[in-house]
C-alpha cells in the first residue's frame, strides 16, 4: 500500500500544470482517487465529514450486485449444459459462465470508461465515477449470448447520449444502464425481444419461450415452478434470474443506506396493486396469476432493487419517491399483461418514470409551498 502511495506521489508532478503529461491529468486523477480516498475537503459551507466519497458510495452498489453476478455466472453455465441434456459439477458451470460473462463485463467497462475518460480529458474535468456502477449493471441485464459488438454500441450510445450530452454523472435524465439496454432492445430486437429463451449456445433444436412470453400467450402450465423462478434456476439475462440473490443485494444496499427503501418498497407495492387489480378483472389466464408471481418473473426484482433506486434519475423528495416507485411497479405489470409487443415492461416503465421524476418532485414541492403559504396567510388574516 505504502509503495503504491509513494509511486503515485512520485508520478504526480508530471501530470500537474507544466508537467509533460499534463494532458492526461484527468486520467491520472481518476486512478489516484480510485485507489485512495482523496484528502481534500470542501472549504466553505456546511458539509458532513465522511470517508465515503462518490467512488466508495458507488462501490457499495457493486458489492451488492456481486451475489447476483456470481449466481448469474453459474446459471449461464448451468442452463447451457441443461439445454444439451447434461448436468455437470459446479466448477464446470462457473467456468463456462465466466467465458460468457467476463467478455460482457470487459467490453462494457472498456467502452464505457474509455468514452468517459475521453470526455473528461477534452473538458479538463475529473473523470466521473458514475460508470463504475452502470458498467457492472449493463452485463447483468443483457442475455449471455448477446454479440459483443452490439453491447459495445449500446454502451457507447448510453454513455454519450444518455449521459455526456446532459453533462455527465448526476446530470442524466435516464438511467444509463437501462438506456443501453433499451437501445439494444430496439436496435437489435432479434436478440433482445424476450419471446425466445436466452441460453448461451443452445442447440438449434432447443427452442422455447421465456416465462414471460409463455405467460403472455396464456401458456401458464409451461411456467417453471415458483421455487425455480425465485431462486433463479431459469434462463434469462445474466443477473436478473435469481430473485433470492437480488434480495441479498437489496439487504446490503438498505443496511448501508445507499439505496432508498421508499422507492424499493413502493415499486413492489405498485406491482402488487396492479396484479391484484388484474386478479379482480380476470379477463384471461395471465391476469389471474397471483400478484407475487410478477415479482419473481423477468427483471422485476432487479429493476426494483438496482434500477429504480438510482439516486440520480429517481425522485428526490420523500413523497415523490413513493409516487415514483409505485408508478414504476404499477406500469411494469400493466405493460407485461396488456401489451402483446413487450413481454417485459420493467425497463420501459422505469425509463418512463425517469422522465417524469422531476415533474413529480415539482408537484410535491409546489404542493408543499401552497400548503405552507395557506397557513401563512391564515396567520396574517388573524
Amino acid at each position: 500500500m505504502k509503495a503504491l502511495r509513494k509511486f503515485l506521489d512520485k508520478q504526480k508532478p508530471k501530470f500537474q500544470k507544466g508537467g509533460k503529461l499534463h494532458k492526461l491529468e484527468s486520467t491520472f486523477d481518476a486512478f489516484e482517487t480510485f485507489l485512495f480516498v482523496p484528502n481534500t475537503t470542501a472549504k466553505t459551507g456546511a458539509h458532513i465529514r465522511d470517508a465515503v466519497d462518490m467512488k466508495r458510495f458507488m462501490f457499495t452498489v457493486i458489492i451488492a450486485m456481486i451475489p447476483a453476478l456470481i449466481f448469474g455466472t453459474w446459471n449461464v453455465g448451468y442452463e447451457h449444459y441443461l439445454s444439451h441434456g447434461q448436468t455437470v459439477d459446479f466448477l464446470t458451470n462457473i467456468t463456462y459462465g465466466l467465458m460468457k460473462v467476463l467478455p460482457l463485463i470487459v467490453v462494457s467497462y472498456g467502452v464505457g470508461l474509455g468514452i468517459e475518460f475521453l470526455f473528461a480529458q477534452i473538458r479538463h474535468e475529473e473523470v466521473n465515477e458514475g460508470f463504475l456502477v452502470s458498467g457492472m449493471l449493463i452485463p447483468l441485464i443483457v442475455p449471455p449470448d448477446l454479440p459483443l459488438w452490439q453491447l459495445a454500441i449500446g454502451v457507447a450510445f448510453a454513455v454519450i447520449f444518455g449521459k455526456e450530452v446532459f453533462g455527465g454523472t448526476g446530470m442524466n435524465v435516464f438511467n444509463p444502464a437501462l438506456t443501453a439496454r433499451a437501445f439494444i432492445f430496439f436496435a437489435y430486437p432479434g436478440n433482445m425481444s424476450g419471446d425466445k429463451v436466452w441460453i448461451a449456445d443452445k442447440p438449434d433444436t432447443f427452442s422455447g419461450a421465456t416465462p414471460l412470453g409463455n405467460a403472455l400467450v396464456g401458456n401458464l402450465k409451461d411456467l417453471p415452478s415458483a421455487h425455480d423462478m425465485f431462486f433463479g434456476y431459469i434462463p434469462g439475462s445474466v443477473g436478473e434470474t435469481s430473485t433470492f440473490w437480488i434480495l441479498v443485494g437489496a439487504v446490503i444496499l438498505l443496511l448501508t443506506g445507499v439505496a432508498s427503501w421508499r422507492v424499493m418498497v413502493s415499486v413492489f407495492a405498485g406491482g402488487a396493486v396492479m396484479g391484484l387489480l388484474f386478479n379482480l378483472w380476470g379477463a384471461n389466464t395471465y391476469m389471474e396469476i397471483p400478484f407475487w408471481q410478477h415479482f419473481i418473473m423477468g427483471g422485476f426484482a432487479f429493476g426494483a432493487v438496482f434500477m429504480a433506486t438510482d439516486p440520480v434519475t429517481s425522485s428526490q423528495t420523500t413523497k415523490g419517491k413513493y409516487i415514483y416507485g409505485f408508478l414504476i411497479g404499477f406500469i411494469a405489470v400493466l405493460i407485461r399483461v396488456i401489451n402483446p409487443g413487450y413481454p417485459e415492461g420493467v425497463m420501459l416503465s422505469i425509463l418512463l418514470m425517469n422522465a417524469f421524476a422531476p415533474f413529480i418532485d415539482h408537484l410535491v414541492v409546489q404542493s408543499n409551498i401552497k400548503r405552507r403559504l395557506k397557513r401563512a396567510t391564515v396567520a396574517v388574516n388573524k
Partner: protein, 218 residues
C-alpha cells in the same frame, strides 16, 4: 416594403450570394432556427424520399417567395396569411401532381408529407420574414437557399439512417454480404423516428462545435 430607389446591382452580387449560402450553414432552417423538424424526422428513413422531399420543398420555397414578393405591394396586411397560404397551396398541389405523374412510388412513400409542405414552418417563415419586404429576385434566392439548407440536413440524416438502418445508400447495397454472414445486423433503431431526432441533434452538436459564434452567451 422598400420603395426607395436602389442602384442596380448585379444578379449575383455578394449580398445575393449570401442569401443563397447563409441558410445552408450559419442560418440553417433546421439546425439553427429549428423549423420544419416534423418532415425531417418523417421522410429521412431512406435517401430517395429525402432527396425528392428536399427538391419539392426547395421548389415551393423558391417560387412561393417569388410570387409573394411580386404581390407584396398589393396584399392587404390583414389578410396576408391567407393569401400566402393560397399561393403555397397552389404550388404544393402542382408539385404533388408532378410527383404522382413521374415518381409514383416515391410519392406514395412520402404520402401526406408532400401535402403537409403547406404547413412547413420554413415556408411561412420565409414569406413573412423575407418575401413580404424584399424584391422578387433576392426573395427567390432566399427561398432556394432555405430549401438548400433544409435539403442538406435531410440528406445527411437520411444518409446515416439508411446506411446503418438498412445497409443501403439510395437503394444500393453498400454493406457487403460477408459482413452480414459474420454476424452484423442492421440497426433497427435507425429506422425509427427517435433516431432521426438524435441524428439531427448530433448534426447541431457538430455544427456548433465548428461555429463558435452560434453558441449562446453564457
Amino acid at each position: 416594403m422598400s420603395t426607395e430607389k436602389m442602384e442596380k446591382e448585379p444578379l449575383f452580387s455578394a449580398k445575393n450570394i449570401k442569401l443563397l449560402t447563409g441558410p445552408v450553414n450559419m442560418n440553417n432552417p433546421i439546425t439553427v432556427q429549428v423549423l420544419g423538424i416534423c418532415s425531417a424526422l418523417a421522410v429521412t428513413a431512406k435517401m430517395k424520399p429525402a432527396l425528392v422531399m428536399a427538391l419539392a420543398v426547395m421548389i415551393v420555397t423558391g417560387f412561393s417567395n417569388l410570387v409573394i414578393s411580386l404581390l407584396r405591394n398589393g396584399i392587404p396586411p390583414r389578410i396576408r396569411i391567407i393569401v400566402q397560404l393560397v399561393v403555397v397551396a397552389a404550388l404544393v398541389i402542382l408539385v404533388d401532381q408532378i410527383l404522382k405523374a413521374f415518381v409514383y412510388d416515391v410519392s406514395k412513400q412520402l404520402s401526406v408529407f408532400v401535402g403537409l409542405i403547406i404547413t412547413n414552418c420554413i415556408i411561412m417563415g420565409r414569406l413573412e420574414a423575407f418575401a413580404m419586404g424584399n424584391k422578387p429576385w433576392p426573395s427567390f434566392l432566399d427561398g432556394i437557399g432555405n430549401g438548400l439548407g433544409y435539403g442538406l440536413i435531410l440528406l445527411i440524416v437520411a444518409f446515416f439512417r439508411e446506411l446503418f438502418g438498412s445497409g443501403t445508400i439510395l437503394g444500393y447495397e453498400v454493406v457487403p454480404q460477408s459482413l452480414y454472414h459474420a454476424g452484423y445486423e442492421n440497426n433497427g433503431m435507425m429506422i425509427l423516428p427517435p433516431m432521426a431526432l438524435i441524428t439531427v441533434g448530433v448534426i447541431i452538436w457538430v455544427q456548433r462545435y465548428y461555429n463558435r459564434e452560434l453558441l449562446e452567451d453564457k
